[in-house]
């Protein structure tokens, strides 16, 4: 064996270590698209709220329930669209990379992502039942950030920093209760687009 072969060995070792511990087929483009959906959702939500505020009819009190349902529907639509897009793009990329989409690695990744996320989801439902509406937005950002951070050990580069950014943003937003939609637009919209672009340039292009 000559030196070139040994060099090849080292490269191969590195690649296997990476592939066996990290899921490489996440797509930056799906982050960018999720961000765009979130921004559209935020604008729609904002319009709904403005419409409600300008409503001085006698039905105002009943309409607040209607508004709440509409806002939840908008948020759910954004969530479903983002997850679907993310799944399709990741599936395509994994197929191209010949990486398995369902193996012990992606299982671990999903568990580490879902435990904080579902904790947060239940937490927010309880907040809703208890009518603590103001801290729902900060809570979603914080738990989403924790979920990203916890799953990031199985991913490449920027996901970890996206998680930290969401956590910090969530904590800041606790000081500005009542601006939930603005912080959602920043956290789920702008941050996703920003980190999506960085991720795209680092890992998607080739």
């Amino acid at each position: 064996m000559n030196t070139e072969n040994y060099l090849k060995d080292i490269t191969e070792i590195k690649s296997i270590m990476n592939r066996s511990t990290k899921f490489l087929s996440l797509s930056g483009m799906s982050g960018i698209l999720a961000g765009i959906y979130a921004l559209i959702g935020a604008f729609a939500g904002n319009a709904l709220i403005k419409q409600y505020i300008s409503d001085f009819s006698i039905y105002r009190y009943e309409n607040v329930y209607l508004l709440r349902i509409k806002l939840i529907l908008v948020a759910a639509a954004v969530l479903v669209l983002s997850i679907t897009t993310g799944f399709i793009l990741t599936y395509k990329k994994a197929k191209k990379n010949k990486e398995a989409i369902w193996n012990s690695l992606t299982k671990k990744l999903l568990i580490d992502f879902c435990v904080p996320l579902f904790t947060g989801g239940i937490f927010c439902v309880i907040l809703m039942i208890k009518k603590y509406y103001g801290i729902i937005a900060p809570a979603t950002l914080i738990f989403y950030g924790v979920a990203l951070f916890s799953a990031s050990k199985y991913t490449l580069g920027t996901i970890k920093y996206l998680g930290i950014s969401e956590i910090i943003l969530g904590l800041i937003s606790l000081f500005f209760i009542g601006y939930g939609i603005t912080f959602w637009a920043i956290g789920f919209g702008i941050l996703h687009i920003l980190y999506g672009i960085i991720f795209y340039y680092q890992h998607d292009r080739n």
Partner: protein, 100 residues
């Protein structure tokens, strides 16, 4: 140069064995199917290399059942990890000394 070559471990002198060890040192345990996918080799080929590593006591084999399906998990022993580390250091030395 001879000193360095002493640490080149004959057991690792094969791409697939090197691949198996690379995966096992960075993971707690890896099952047969994952190893197969990761390295892109056939069942028989992988099994024979795993046997060789097992014989050297570089890896530990755990057989269990998940439901009704048999599942075999492999992990690196401390002897295996140490030998692999020495082997990589030797590789690095060779590459370095040839670049001077």
């Amino acid at each position: 140069m001879k000193d360095i070559l002493l640490h080149i471990n004959k057991t690792f002198d094969h791409r697939i064995r090197l691949g198996i060890m690379s995966a096992l040192v960075v993971n707690d345990a890896v099952d047969f199917k994952s190893l197969k996918e990761l390295l892109g080799v056939t069942d028989g080929n992988l099994a024979s290399h795993l046997k060789a590593l097992e014989k050297e006591e570089f890896i530990l084999v755990q057989k269990q059942f998940i439901g009704r399906k048999p599942n075999t998990k492999y992990s690196a022993t401390s002897t295996g990890k140490e030998a692999f580390k020495k082997h990589i250091e030797a590789l690095e030395q060779i590459i370095k000394s040839s670049q001077l």
